[in-house]
């Protein structure tokens, strides 16, 4: 097991290196000078040149990369060009906020969508199946920002049940913090349910056609026993992989939700940094996202044998 983990982590190194180089180069190819943006429109060329030198942007790109890469290896991700804060602290504090929302949302979406997908497969071609598949397709088609705004207007503005904007950390106030999370979590749950219902349905259908299911039925087992004890375990594998992918994807990519609900998460930090050409923060964020993606998928793989004993982590 330990060897498997180390192997996987070792295999992730090239991924992280390629991500680092690509991000580092791409962000510098985008026109826009952080020094000019920082100093505003009254700045003289020599002031901008001075600022570029102060930020180390006057050095060649390979030189900049080596300095940054060397520092990253020692755990120093540099300072934000805009705020002067350490990037590592910025990324970790914003990631914690995103992770709260994403983990709760993915858990809830899985708890609702997976049984729904299994039931849709079990009742294939029935009205229930049609309703569930139809709902899933609609949920998949709704853009998250639009859904978020609708929920915000309905529950926040029209009904007045939930706070419209702002954010309170759960650490500061448990009840208040949870209330601020309801709408963003609800938006993500609704959206991700679409994918998971379809995935769970497809993999269950595949399993339900196998001989051992027919055999179980022939033995006289009840439909619920066939479905949940025999079919579900095997059908859940692909869905579990999908849950891992969604989790990894969302951990670095809910900028739209965070912008609509004014949540200071990692996605918003990344988008703001791109607009401000805050290179160290963009690099730090994307490297962190890549690492979390690798880790989430590693955890998913390690847990896979729990659902499918045929798979062994070796």
């Amino acid at each position: 097991m330990l060897r498997f983990i180390l192997n996987r982590l070792f295999m992730a190194l090239p991924t992280v290196l390629i991500v680092s180089i690509t991000v580092f180069a791409l962000i510098r190819f985008i026109p826009g000078d952080p020094a000019a943006l920082m100093l505003g429109d009254m700045a003289q060329p020599e002031q901008i040149a001075e600022k570029r030198s102060e930020l180390g942007l006057d050095k060649s790109m390979p030189e900049q990369f080596l300095i940054w890469g060397g520092n990253v290896l020692t755990g120093d991700f540099g300072l934000s060009i805009v705020s002067g804060e350490p990037v590592r602290e910025l990324v970790v504090s914003h990631f914690a906020v995103s992770a709260q929302i994403v983990s709760v949302a993915v858990l809830l979406a899985s708890l609702i969508a997976v049984p729904a997908g299994v039931i849709a497969a079990w009742r294939q071609n029935s009205l229930t199946d049609l309703a569930l598949v139809g709902t899933a397709t609609i949920l998949l088609s709704i853009p998250t920002f639009w859904l978020g705004l609708l929920l915000l207007l309905f529950f926040g503005l029209k009904l007045g049940w939930l706070p419209v904007l702002g954010y309170v950390s759960i650490g500061d106030n448990l009840v208040g913090g949870l209330l601020y999370l309801v709408l963003p979590v609800m938006t993500l749950v609704i959206h991700e349910m679409g994918v998971l219902i379809r995935m769970a349905r497809a993999s269950t259908l595949e399993v339900l056609r196998l001989d051992y299911i027919t055999h179980a039925r022939a033995k006289g087992l009840s439909e619920s026993a066939v479905l949940w004890k025999h079919a579900f375990k095997n059908a859940f594998g692909p869905t579990w992989t999908m849950i891992g992918l969604i989790l990894g994807n969302l951990l670095g990519g809910i900028a739209v939700i965070e912008t609509v609900f004014t949540i200071p998460g990692l996605g918003r930090l990344m988008v703001d940094s791109i607009f401000q050409r805050d290179y160290p923060v963009i690099q730090g964020c994307l490297l962190f996202v890549a690492l979390s993606y690798v880790l989430v998928n590693l955890i998913v793989d390690l847990l896979y044998p729990l659902f499918d004993p045929r798979v062994v982590a070796e």
């Binding site: 943006l37 926040g156 419209v164 702002g166 954010y167 209330l179």
Partner: protein, 514 residues
């Protein structure tokens, strides 16, 4: 369920949001730094404005008036300024303002280690070389200049300089690092939750400068009428709208698209305020096609400015072809002149210029609070009427800045933030393109006039310079000025007062009802 949620919402409000009599205002980005004039942007200036005050400050009409000073006396030769300090000013730590505090502040600003944005304006590389500062007594400060400068006081009062705000030396920690701004403004530093909000508390010991009972720029009456201000970071315009409609926000800048909705709303009000910023078409006078003044003049004549402005500003703006704002004391009758809308004359001038249908590109961005894109679209249609082959290139703002800085453009649909002294506004456009490619106009006569505007102290002579400048601009047309920028804000009906000035939140003399 509903009861639980409502109770929860109330708890959340008590725990995480403002107190009942705070004003809650949205800003699109967080404070960059609490150190005045060091690491800043427009939103940072808005916050700092409430905490610190300079010796002088701008009034509504662009004049510079005493603020922390009781009086400002310029020596007849223009080489020294004597500031007599007011006796009723206290810092937020209750220590009285003294002349030595002013000297300490100035020396701190001029120390390169502070990284003051405006250092180059005063250190001999800019328009006002300060050669010395001295505390004459506990309430008098004298500043000496190398040569007379008409813009010395105006430069000090600029938002970019952090208003050259005077802070208590206690703002800096023992290890010389900046701690927090302890200023003299109507509100004091309270709490900053980075990425979420910043809270300022009312300063009970605040005394306004001499005034006629009304707010006037950053001078005038400046009473804090609420317990505090909460600046919330909300980048999304739709969320701002929901916040205003729900009453969570008291006021904020809104998208101009929302003007009709806010105008007719029973719960919210619309606030329109003109400022000294400019919306214009910034033209590259070294471009092979646009280097001919005749083409630029033809373009100006082909634009029905009144129609263009009405459409681009959603009916809130008024055409102004001058670099000088309509609210400036220098906005004379001469400044009101502009090339008349005349398609026939435009076509004739275009034909005479030898234009052969070469493509002309207008760079625009789609930021919601500026008319860059709509103005470009309307202009494109108007310019095509006389046979100009105009295209629009949409870029993000950072890329647009880059293109302007490098001089790599033909026309940019641009908005320029307010500068209250016309000479300072000119400096955005005029100068030597060989040393600063971002400048628009390097005509030698224009550069001479700008230099004269920087040096001339007499207001009448300055007016003559500005008028001559405008005449020259109409001949050369290095850029087409459209209208003064307009701040479009929304507020709840409970808000009383004017919450915006020159694109900055200005929340003194503003209250919220129950």
């Amino acid at each position: 369920m509903k009861t639980i949620l409502l109770a929860g919402t109330m708890l959340a409000s008590l725990a995480g949001t403002a107190l009942a009599r705070d004003i809650v205002v949205a800003q699109s980005s967080d404070l960059r730094s609490s150190n005045p004039g060091v690491n800043r942007d427009g939103n940072t200036d808005s916050i700092i404005l409430h905490i610190v005050e300079g010796l002088v400050g701008y009034a509504n009409n662009g004049e510079v008036k005493p603020l922390l000073a009781e009086s400002v006396d310029m020596a007849p030769d223009g080489l020294s300024y004597t500031f007599k300090l007011r006796g009723d000013v206290k810092f937020h730590n209750d220590k009285p303002l003294k002349a030595e505090d002013v000297v300490w502040n100035w020396n701190r600003y001029m120390d390169p280690a502070t990284k003051w944005t405006c250092l180059k304006d005063f250190d001999g590389n800019g328009a006002a070389h300060v050669t010395g500062i001295k505390a004459v007594d506990t309430s008098t400060v004298t500043i000496t200049l190398e040569k007379p400068s008409a813009v010395f006081l105006g430069l000090m009062s600029r938002p970019e300089c952090g208003y050259t705000g005077i802070i208590s030396p206690d703002s800096v920690a023992a290890d010389s690092t900046f701690d927090k701004p302890i200023g003299t403004g109507p509100f004091q530093w309270d709490e900053w939750k980075k990425g979420e909000y910043l809270h300022l508390a009312k300063f009970d010991g605040y005394v306004s400068p001499k005034n006629d009972g009304k707010p006037d720029g950053v001078v005038g009456s400046k009473r804090p009428l609420v317990d505090g201000i909460k600046f919330m970071v909300i980048p999304d315009a739709s969320t701002v709208k929901a916040g205003l409609q729900s009453g969570v926000l008291d006021t904020a800048e809104i998208s101009p698209d929302l003007i009709p909705e806010f105008k007719d709303s029973v719960t919210t009000q619309l606030i329109i305020a003109r400022n000294n910023g400019k919306n214009l078409f910034y033209i590259q006078t070294r471009d092979p096609v646009l280097s001919k003044p005749a083409i630029r003049r033809a373009m100006a004549r082909a634009l029905d400015l009144d129609q263009l402005v009405a459409a681009a500003s959603n009916g809130t703006g008024e055409a102004n072809g001058s670099m000088i704002s309509s609210d400036s004391v220098y906005y004379s009758d001469a400044q009101k002149k502009r090339l008349p809308y005349d398609l026939e004359a435009a076509k004739k001038e275009l034909d005479a210029s030898g234009y052969k249908g070469e493509p002309i590109s207008i760079i625009a961005n789609k930021r919601g609070n500026v008319p860059s894109f709509p103005a470009a679209v309307i202009a494109q249609a108007m310019l095509q009427q006389i046979g100009l082959n105009v295209q629009i290139e949409v870029l993000d703002y950072a890329t647009q800045v880059d293109r302007r800085r490098s001089g790599n453009y033909q026309i940019i649909s641009q908005s320029v933030t307010p500068r209250l002294d016309p000479a300072l506004m000119y400096s955005f456009y005029v100068g030597d393109k060989n040393t600063n490619a971002s400048l628009m106009w390097d005509d030698p006569k224009a550069r001479d006039l700008m230099k004269a505007a920087y040096a001339e102290i007499d207001p009448k002579k300055r007016q003559a310079i500005f008028d001559a400048f405008h005449e020259l601009m109409m001949q050369e047309m290095p850029g087409i000025f459209l209208y003064d920028m307009v701040d479009v804000w929304g507020a709840t009906k409970a808000l009383k007062g004017q919450p915006v000035w020159q694109s900055n939140a200005r929340l003194w003399e503003v209250s919220v009802g129950d």
